[in-house]
């Protein structure tokens, strides 16, 4: 038969059926035993009566003969009555019925039919003898002689009637005694059998109850084992506390604390509970009202584990008599919560930083934010922000902790920095370690710990954020995380600002000469006009530039343009504006100057150019046309006037300065319509190049 997997029911009262079985078995055995006792007692009582009657026959037989003699002697006696008693008694013994009472001796006795064949044979023999005895008795009384019956197998060896009677009486007596003895012996045997039966029943009862008790014990043990294994395999930490001491600690508690049951019970439990929690712990189990409790317990490794306990007050339960704590280890949850809190703080710092940096529209403002963030990260932690310049070859200290100062890393170039090379934050617990950055050694303030976080933007390294702390004390995770956040966000912002500034610069300036371009200058000039600020304009053009280009190459041409712009910047004031107007033309604006002053400035420029070119370079000259804001109302007309001046200078033989006037233009071009002046001039200017080459 296959053993089916039984349902696991640790709470099922299986012992109950065993107890019922024990009780039922005992009841059955007791009932059987009682029945046997009653039956055998009843039988014995009956047997006693039988024995009594059987024994009485002997006396009656003797009494019969005595009465016969008395009657023969003329005395008063009733042998007939005795004969009837003998006959009735032997009949009752054989077939059951009433054995009559003998006068003065006893009462009627009810007898059962004799069933034992051996005893029956004896009683039958007795019956025959009594019949013979009575026949002989009658013959004796009547003095009758002759053949008398001998039905019981006897062959009496005398003929004397009295002797015959005595022999028959003796035989009856003997046979009665024999029957009585046989009946008694059988009763003894029955009693013996009953005793044996009772002993057997008792033995069976004891055996069965031992087996059932064993089953009960086994069931209870199994049930206990179920619970024990449930409790011991459970990761729940179970404590039973009563009166400030521990009465029970589950296997899980032993495993956690590495202490034995005996070490934990009593006051021993308090040794593994955090001293800050002991009072709460005791108060909770004393009051019984507290349902939940969080406390710390020291584990075998000496770490504090956070436990969350559910308290059940079972002090009234006589099986427990204490407060039961079902605890779970929630250390990981607590750690996670702490980590989340820290994360939130960091996120807060991060979002504030991002907002602050967004408001910084130039590098200086960004650096200011960085400085404030540094104080936020660590008030007393020296920090510095080292950024590379545009060449990306040098690292410059761009922001320093305003309170704690700079750790002053001697690193010079980005790629000398290990953090920059690795591309992630590097932490050194001590500068003295073999694998510490060599740039940390021999610092002014001696050995230190350090964090170096690389700063990059769009994958390009910008520099490093560097902080130092006390030697041997690694900066906290939070600090490293905050420094990383600062580096990331500052890098992003500074990178963006730099890119923006560069783009703006590129839009406003001329790539070759570094001067502002035409559109920028126009914006500036319109601003001057709007402000009604007087200014002079000068348009400059390099003479025979096409020929210079063709003769010496474009590179030489470019170099000449750069040299000329350099000369312009050298001579002009800081306030003056100069732009590359296109090709080899330059437009110069001199605020607060008139045309005459401008002519002088241009002449100085020509002189300075001539001096600069003294060094044997490819020589060239420039022609200038001048106008001022008093000559015209619109910017376009002012530029046209300067253009006319330039044309005049070219026409007059180049390398000179001329003031443009409207009449000159009309004379020179013969044009009568102002609207056509500009195209006319441009045609003339265009014609200049081929003519001069």
């Amino acid at each position: 038969m296959t053993r089916r997997a039984r349902e696991f029911r640790p709470f099922a009262p299986r012992a109950r059926s065993t107890i019922i079985a024990i009780v039922v078995t005992f009841a059955l055995i007791l009932a059987a035993s009682a029945a046997v006792s009653i039956w055998s007692t009843a039988k014995s009582r009956n047997r006693a009566a039988v024995v009594e009657i059987a024994g009485r026959q002997r006396t009656l037989a003797e009494r019969y003969v005595t009465q016969l003699l008395l009657v023969r002697g003329g005395e008063q006696a009733s042998p007939q009555r005795t004969g009837v008693l003998l006959t009735q008694s032997v009949n009752a013994l054989l077939n059951g019925g009433t054995a009559p009472a003998v006068e003065g001796d006893d009462d009627d006795v009810m007898l059962e039919r004799e069933t034992d064949p051996r005893i029956r044979a004896e009683i039958v023999e007795q019956q025959k003898l009594i019949r013979d005895l009575l026949a002989n008795g009658n013959a004796f009384l009547t003095r009758r002689t002759g053949k008398l019956p001998e039905t019981a197998g006897e062959r009496i060896t005398t003929t004397d009637p009295l002797q015959r009677l005595r022999v028959l009486s003796a035989l009856t007596s003997n046979v009665s005694l024999s029957a009585a003895r046989e009946i008694a012996a059988r009763t003894d045997r029955n009693v013996k059998q009953t005793i044996t039966l009772q002993v057997a029943l008792g033995a069976v009862g004891i055996l069965v109850s031992v087996l059932l008790a064993w089953a009960l014990v086994a069931t209870t043990r199994r049930q206990t084992a179920h619970f024990r294994s449930l409790v011991s395999s459970s990761t729940d930490l179970v404590l039973v506390l009563a009166g400030d001491s521990c009465r029970y600690a589950s296997t899980a508690v032993e495993r956690l604390t590495g202490q034995t049951q005996s070490q934990l019970t009593g006051k021993g439990i308090l040794r593994v509970i955090h001293e800050e929690d002991v009072e709460r712990f005791q108060a909770a189990q004393r009051s019984g009202d507290v349902k939940e409790l969080v406390f710390r317990m020291r584990n075998a490794a000496g770490e504090w584990r956070h436990l969350e306990a559910h308290l059940t007050d079972l002090r009234a339960d006589r099986h427990v008599r204490g407060v039961v704590l079902n605890s779970r280890d929630i250390t990981e949850r607590v750690r996670l919560e702490q980590e989340l809190t820290r994360q939130a703080q960091r996120d807060n710092f991060g979002s504030q930083l991002v907002e602050a940096l967004e408001m910084a529209d130039e590098e200086a403002a960004a650096f200011d934010v960085v400085r404030r963030a540094m104080v936020e990260i660590g008030e007393h932690t020296p920090m510095e922000l080292l950024l590379s310049d545009s060449s990306r070859a040098h690292l410059d200290q761009t922001a320093v902790h305003p309170l704690a100062g700079a750790p002053s890393c001697p690193v010079e170039s980005p790629y000398s920095c290990v953090a920059v090379r690795r591309g992630h934050a590097v932490v050194f617990e001590t500068s003295e370690a073999l694998n510490a950055c060599p740039k940390l050694r021999d610092r002014e303030h001696g050995p230190c710990s350090a964090v170096c976080v690389p700063i990059s933007f769009m994958g390009r390294s910008l520099g490093v954020l560097h902080a130092t702390g006390p030697d041997g004390v690694a900066p906290s995770k939070e600090q490293v995380a905050q420094l990383t956040t600062l580096a990331t966000q500052a890098g992003a912002r500074i990178g963006t600002v730099r890119a923006f500034e560069k783009t703006q610069l590129q839009a406003q300036t001329d790539g070759l000469t570094g001067l502002i371009n035409r559109r920028t200058l126009e914006t500036e000039l319109r601003a001057l006009l709007r402000d009604n600020r007087p200014f002079a304009l000068a348009l400059a053009d390099l003479d025979h530039f096409k020929r210079l280009n063709d003769t010496h190459g474009h590179e030489e041409g470019d170099r000449s343009l750069r040299l000329f712009s350099h000369v312009l910047r050298q001579v002009l004031r800081d306030d003056d504006l100069v732009a590359r107007w296109g090709g080899e033309e330059f437009l110069i604006a001199l605020p607060d100057a008139d045309a005459q002053a401008a002519v002088e400035v241009m002449d100085r420029i020509r002189a300075h150019l001539a001096r600069t070119l003294d060094g044997g370079q490819v020589r060239f000259t420039a022609s200038f046309g001048v106008s001022d804001s008093t000559a015209a109302a619109s910017l376009q007309e002012l530029i046209q006037l300067a253009d006319i001046g330039l044309y005049l200078s070219k026409a007059a033989g180049r390398d000179r300065t001329s003031v443009g006037v409207w009449t000159d233009v009309r004379e020179a071009l013969g044009a009568g319509n102002g609207a056509k002046r500009a195209p006319a001039f441009h045609r003339a200017a265009a014609e200049d190049e081929p003519n001069d080459s």
Partner: protein, 150 residues
Amino acid sequence: MADTWEVRKPPLAACAVLLGLAFIAAALGSRAADATPKSPSVVRVVERDFHISLVHGRVTAGTVVFRVTNHGPDEHEFIVIHAERGLPLRPDGITLDEDALAKSIAGSIEPARAGETNTLRLSLKPGRYAVVCNMFGHYMGGMHAVLVVQ
């Protein structure tokens, strides 16, 4: 070596002598026990209320084995009495006076229940024997028989 021989001889001789003696003793013993060399006579006896039947009324002297079966229904004893003359009764006139017959009683079997068979082995000299049951009234009731040993 001669010493050794001297030493060994007496025990060997003693063993031989002892063995011889034992043999003779055994032979004598068996002969003494079996004074009559023939197989014993067996007398089958049946007792019942109230007479005794002998299958063989005559046996040869020597060992006589009685096989007494009681057919009942009552208990009966079995007594073998060497009785050349009449047997004396007790004053009750009903039972034999066993005390007076003590010297003549060759052997007896205690009262046996119906169905039992008992064996009595006796060494009987030639003569006339009475076999009786002397329970109260049984002898006079007819339980006696005669056995002649020749």
